[in-house]
Symmetry: C2
Subunit: 354 residues, 2 copies
DNA sequence: TTGTAGGCGTTATCAG
DNA sequence: CTGATAACGCCTACAA
């Protein structure tokens, strides 16, 4: 009377259920926990056994049920990452986070916030996956918003962007001020004295970069010349438009500056385009610089001298901060300022009059 | 003798565990399953109760454990989405997928494939979350690769990009051929006869678009003029470079074409930049068109006539395909061709000689 | 290396 | 609406 055997044949009756560790164990005639040992990569199985188990796993199309795993595991090894698909730079950081997390033995769970999907639900999803920590990239939240998240959830929060140092969550930002200051110093070193600053005020990090400009100019004993776009560009993301608008503004002046520092590459590209149409040549008539080293800055027809904020460094710093607080929650939060570097291309030269 | 009461105080001893449904139930003096009913949004609770439960949830910082949920749930309501952070267009599609999925009552789980993270593991992760279906956006896999995934996993697979119709997985692609053909027809309608095609061969969808060009030219009785970039650009993604290179090639000719159709906006922008430097004006000397309606096409200094492939339509189509096969696995796979639309801006005009 | 026992937080079903 | 009970797939601890 094999009463068990009768119920076991799961022949052709309906849904095909994904294989589990038990299935692999049965298939191989080993214990279920041996299979677990293999997939967890912990000691307790011979290398030959490991090979066989993994082989069988591949054969049966097995992948460990992440939900069950996170349910049972003592502590999560997942980093939740919130990002906005709209901004390309953020995605380079996301890529870097994947690499850095893998190196530290962590997985990554992504959640996007879009026009139709506010930050709140997006963070809730991350929390629902029981991440060990949450990394916010270029969040649209202000300080209080992030504070609310960091307090509400019990997990450490890292803000990558332009946050302010505080003692509730970690902050990673690039040294936008010193990056611009370095650029000003470089351009002044070429002999420029009339150095204007193109300010697209709608950017969140604009104030920081502007400060870098004004301070550097003061230190050099030069007169600051901050040019904002006329009209209301306070919500646009088409910075090329802003650059073109500022170019028009400058063309109305009696005399052009000999150098223009832009606080992002898009604005610089728009500036260059419009100036080109008006017969003003870069760098012969005006030296031009950007910020970000975006794709457009690297195009041979643009070839923009710019400031690079390394997304790899940002991502790595974010992961480091998160892991640090995960492994040692008692440690105080910190602010990581990632250095920038100057990329000199052909859009800058000594002024003609020099 | 409240023997239970004594063990219940989980005072200040160590780790603070995220609240569960039981915690909320206890807090409110109701049953655990009532709480479940509320968070599942199924009938069985008064609206007043729902309010109180949700309120308590917010107060305690509760978010349902997604792992436990997916472990227990009969069928998943998650769509796994694989994308490459490198390509901006894909991210617009991702955003659209979020919106479309929400409308159909599905959640989205993201997984990125990057330089350091191959497609294989990225898909495994999705499968590990027990998604109901997997959507591949702009995958680097060829037909056989996708086939392997679709066969290996038991879930439906949708490929968004340039896949070929087949009976194992669904395909969503834009009508690149007719989009270009429409453009050629439009430009010919302006009076152009010498219409060249700028072909950045490294793009996966290049062949399809080229075909649209050659067919339209033949139909119009015009001579096709496909211009590829000199040298090896087979792996570049800097299409501006390609555009500039082709511009140089054309400038070496005795006579310029009166119109140039580009198969993407970046290439058109590079073309425009270089031509501008050489004193060739757009559209007075040459009419120029792009494809994608990328940000750069919309810049006022470029203002490119182009073909728009609506990411919203692509994302929606992908979700529809996935949901269709999830709810009815027996249904055959299908190919969805998303229509494109012409965006006429100021980079096209009638030829001078006409 | 194997087996055994228990439990993670949730969904699901049933009878009250 | 409550209470009881089972199960999902996996991890952890312990004993064999």
């Amino acid at each position: 009377m094999s009463s068990e055997g009768d119920e076991t044949y799961d022949g052709d009756e309906g849904e095909r259920r994904p294989p589990t560790m038990s299935d692999i164990a049965k298939h191989l005639g080993v214990s279920r926990q041996l299979v677990s040992v293999v997939f967890r990569d912990v000691p307790g199985a011979s290398s030959e056994t490991r090979r066989r188990v993994r082989e069988a796993g591949r054969e049966l199309g097995f992948s460990p049920h992440l939900g069950a795993r996170s349910l049972r595991r003592a502590k999560s090894k997942d980093l939740g990452v919130l990002f906005a698909p709209a901004h390309p730079t953020e995605l380079e950081i996301v890529a870097a986070i994947y690499a850095a997390a893998a190196e530290r033995g962590f997985e990554v769970i992504l959640s996007a916030h879009t026009d139709t999907r506010p930050t709140g639900p997006a963070v809730q999803e991350l929390l629902g996956h029981r991440c060990a920590a949450v990394i916010l990239i270029g969040s649209d939240l202000d300080h209080d918003g992030i504070l609310a998240i960091a307090r509400g959830s019990q997990v450490p929060v890292v803000d990558v962007g332009y946050g302010k140092r505080n003692d509730t969550y970690d902050v990673v930002r690039s040294a936008g001020d010193t990056g611009i200051a370095d650029m000003v110093t470089y351009v002044a070193g070429l002999g420029h004295r009339q150095i204007a600053f193109l300010d697209p005020a709608s950017m969140p990090m604009a104030p920081l970069r502007r400060r870098g400009y004004t301070r550097a100019m003061k230190r050099l004993g030069l007169e600051a010349d901050v040019v904002a776009a006329p009209g209301d560009y306070s919500h646009t993301n088409y910075f090329e438009e802003v650059g073109a608008a500022v170019a028009r503004t400058l063309l109305d002046r009696l005399e052009l500056p000999t150098a223009v520092i832009c606080s992002n590459d898009q604005a610089a590209a728009g500036f260059l385009q419009l100036m080109g149409r008006q017969g003003v040549r870069i760098p012969q008539d005006i030296s031009l610089t950007g910020f970000d080293d975006a794709t457009i800055a690297q195009v041979s027809a643009v070839d923009l001298t710019t400031v690079r904020q390394d997304p790899v460094l940002m991502g790595t710093a974010a992961v480091n901060a998160a892991v640090r607080r995960v492994t040692n929650p008692a440690t105080p939060t910190q602010e990581t300022v990632v250095p920038t570097s100057l990329i000199v291309r052909s859009s800058t030269a000594a002024p003609r009059s020099a």
